[in-house]
C-alpha cells in the first residue's frame, strides 16, 4: 500500500513534469516550479525521482517505447497494409489526445537528453520511421497504395497529425473518434469525394 502510494506520487510528478516541460521548455522549467505544481517541496520529490534529467528520460522513452512496441504489434498482424497504416495513424492521434504533453516533450525536448540516451533515442526514432516507411513501401509494392515517394508519404503522414497535440481538447466541437476518422479519411481516401 505504501509502495502503491509512492508509485502514484511518482506518476503524478511525471505527468506534471510533462505539462511543465511543454509549457516552459525543458531548459526553462525548474524543479521548484514543478514542486509547486504537484504540491510538494522539491526535496520531497527526490524521494520519488532522482533528477530533472531522469524525468525527461522517462517521458521521452515512454513515448518512443510506445511507438516501437505498437509498430512491432501491428507488423505481426495479417491485416492489409492499408489497415496497418491506419492503425499507426490512430496510434499517433490517440497518444496526442491522451498524453499530449508527453508527446510534445518527446517531439521538442529530446535534444536535452544526455548521452548515451540521446543516441539511443535518435536510433529508436530512426528505427520507427524505417519500420513505418517499410510498411508504406510494401503497401505500394502490393498495389494497395498509390505509387508515391515513400519518404514524402511518411513525412506527410507524420507531419499531418502533429497539429492535434497543439489544438485538440474537449470543447473543440470534435470528438476524439471524429478526429481520428476525419484524419484517416483525408490521408487514406483523400479530401476529394
Amino acid at each position: 500500500m505504501a509502495k502503491k502510494t509512492k508509485s502514484n506520487k511518482r506518476q503524478i510528478i511525471l505527468e506534471e513534469a510533462a505539462k511543465l516541460f511543454k509549457a516552459r521548455g525543458f531548459s526553462g522549467a525548474s524543479m521548484r516550479e514543478l514542486g509547486a505544481q504537484v504540491g510538494m517541496e522539491a526535496a520531497s520529490m527526490y524521494n520519488h525521482i532522482s533528477s530533472k534529467d531522469e524525468l525527461l528520460d522517462h517521458i521521452c522513452f515512454h513515448v518512443s517505447d510506445t511507438y516501437i512496441s505498437q509498430l512491432a504489434e501491428i507488423e505481426r498482424t495479417e491485416d492489409s497494409y492499408v489497415e496497418k497504416i491506419k492503425a499507426l495513424i490512430r496510434l499517433h492521434i490517440r497518444l496526442m489526445v491522451e498524453d499530449g504533453a508527453a508527446v510534445s516533450v518527446a517531439n521538442n525536448d529530446w535534444k536535452y537528453l544526455s548521452e548515451p540516451r540521446l543516441t539511443e533515442f535518435k536510433k529508436a526514432r530512426k528505427d520507427y520511421e524505417k519500420g513505418f516507411a517499410a510498411l508504406i513501401e510494401q503497401g505500394i509494392a502490393a498495389g494497395e497504395l498509390q505509387p508515391v515517394n515513400v519518404s514524402v508519404a511518411l513525412f506527410t503522414i507524420l507531419s499531418a497529425v502533429r497539429w492535434v497535440e497543439l489544438w485538440y481538447r474537449p470543447g473543440r466541437g470534435v470528438t476524439a473518434e471524429e478526429l481520428e476518422e476525419n484524419i484517416i479519411t483525408m490521408l487514406l481516401s483523400g479530401l476529394k469525394k
Copy 2:
C-alpha cells in the same frame, strides 16, 4: 544604378537574415553575425535597413502578404473547389521550397514582432485560415469534398505540408514537382489506391 545596387544589398541582407533567424532563432541572432554572413560591417548594414526588428517585420509580412494575395487571387477564379484547394497546397509547398528560411521565420519567430505589427500579423494569419476554411466548407456544401470537420481538414492540410521546410533540398531524390504532386495526391485522393 546606384539605387539598384542598394536595393540588391538590402535584398541580400533580408535573405541572409531569414537564414540566420531560422538557424539561431530571432532572439539568438546578432547583427554582428549577420554582418559577417553578408560580408559587411554591422554599421554599413544600417545604410540598408533600420534594425533587427525591421528585418523580422519584413520577413514575416512578406510571407503573410504572399499567402493573403494568392488566396484572394484563387478565390476570384472560377475553378472548382478541389482545384482551388490544390492551388493553395501548391502555394504552401512552393513557398517552402523556394523561400524555406522566410517561411520558417514567419512560422516560428512572428511572436517577437512588436505591436501593433504583432496584432496585424495574427489577424492576417487568422484571415488567411478563415478564407481557406471557407473554401473547404463551400467545397463540402457543393458535394465536391468529403463531409469532414472543416477545422480538422484545414489544420491537417496546413500541418501536412510543414515538414517540407525542414526536409526538402535538392539531392533528396525528389524533384519539386514530384513533391507537389505526391502531397496533393495524398491529401486530395488519399494514399490508398
